[in-house]
Symmetry: C2
Subunit: 250 residues, 2 copies
């Protein structure tokens, strides 16, 4: 899972930390739903609990790991890294859509309106933009037809959008945690009951995961160095677009 460490001191440790935080967030979600919310099932009231589990797994953990691909496999061929990046984002999107289906069906069954809250608005925006970003990424970077100049112009927006969408996804999860606590333990939340402390801790784990992933992918000296064969291409490409550094290889 970790490569190219000689040229990126410290990267391994930060990637390991991010994975520990992501797994701890998943464990905290499982513990919360299992111990205090009756568990998870695709039937009845427990279907609603599939929503937070899918979102922590897909919209945070898998999405974050998809961003890390270019750092973790920084000395592999770019084409392989791209495919894994697209595959992880695709899996994240799929899991998030299942998570969306869980809450839509649960709300429908209980006669609750859809997407009325700030959590719902942020979630809808995040999911729509995430799907759009995936399609654009596929069209520009994996589909063979896109011109190099177009790719170069879209790339910085794709990179910014990726980090921004992880941030928005984490924020949406925090809103969901707050809603769930205020709907279920509104009166005891302020007495620091264990469920509240556990769910707050989950929130901080998600924030810290997002921060560590964001730090890893934006740190200049950990960026993926272009391979020798890419460098020649990249220099031609720079001449074409006059704006892209040959070192800025996603």
């Amino acid at each position: 899972m970790e490569g190219g460490a000689p040229r990126a001191p410290g990267l391994r440790a930060y990637v390991a930390l991010s994975q520990l935080l992501g797994l701890a967030a998943l464990a905290a979600t499982g513990a919360w739903l299992g111990r205090y919310r009756g568990g998870v099932a695709w039937a009845g009231a427990l279907r609603l609990n599939a929503h937070p589990l899918c979102m922590v797994l897909g919209a945070v953990f898998l999405q974050g790991d998809a961003l890390l691909v270019y750092r973790v496999f920084r000395t592999e061929a770019k084409r392989s890294a791209k495919l894994l990046h697209a595959l992880l984002h695709g899996s994240a999107l799929l899991v998030a859509v299942v998570g969306l289906a869980a809450v839509v069906e649960a709300h429908g069954e209980q006669g609750i309106a859809h997407a009325y809250s700030l959590h719902g608005w942020c979630g809808a925006a995040a999911l729509a933009l995430y799907a759009l970003q995936w399609l654009l990424g596929f069209g520009f970077f994996l589909f063979p037809g896109a011109a190099a100049a177009l790719r170069g112009r879209y790339k910085p927006l794709h990179v910014f959008g990726g980090v921004a969408l992880l941030g928005l996804s984490v924020a949406t999860c925090l809103l969901g945690i707050t809603e769930m606590l205020l709907f279920n333990i509104r009166d005891s939340y302020s007495q620091f009951v264990p469920e509240g402390v556990l769910a707050n801790t989950l929130g901080l784990l998600l924030v810290t995961f997002g921060l560590v992933v964001g730090y890893i992918v934006t740190r200049e000296d950990w960026k993926r160095p272009p391979l020798p064969e890419e460098l020649a291409l990249s220099m031609d490409f720079k001449t074409l677009t006059e704006g892209e550094s040959p070192g800025g290889s996603q």
Copy 2:
């Protein structure tokens, strides 16, 4: 408020958009508190309403504008930009501390526990880290004693921390909006009542402000170009530290 446009096409328009979004968020906060929550005062129950107003003004709008200083005044002397950057962050911190006092006093009067919720935890973390970041920034970049090598090592962390703290501040505001709505209009929120729609819109305005500011400060070709006299210094400095690009002038 806008300078250096010839070498940064598009920057003016994005800065103008950010200011419109920030002012719209402030107006939406005022409208929400004034029309649906009885207004703002430093006495009785209305003191609690000073909290969101201070936080949208200090922890989001002023904090965001402090980040924009190096882009808006990108052709001014660096020392002047630094001073304004520190001054705006200092004002943001001051306003946020007043906002914190408002909620602490209101909770104290009403016998509500402090900082029990995820909103409280995120807010406490954001404010503590923000104060720390201000002190470190002052110590490294404004106080004359700091060695150039130390400054160069701290700078990328300072820049990442600045953007991350704006993101965390916006997320904390979204949590506060959700709490306030669920405590006040829990039963009618799902019927898309005007107060809920207005407060959700405020949330989206804050998110969009954060995204636009984040985009402006991280876009590579809008970065502050070093002035000729800084370039010489910067090259010496690069030789000393072997890691800093002379173009990466905050």
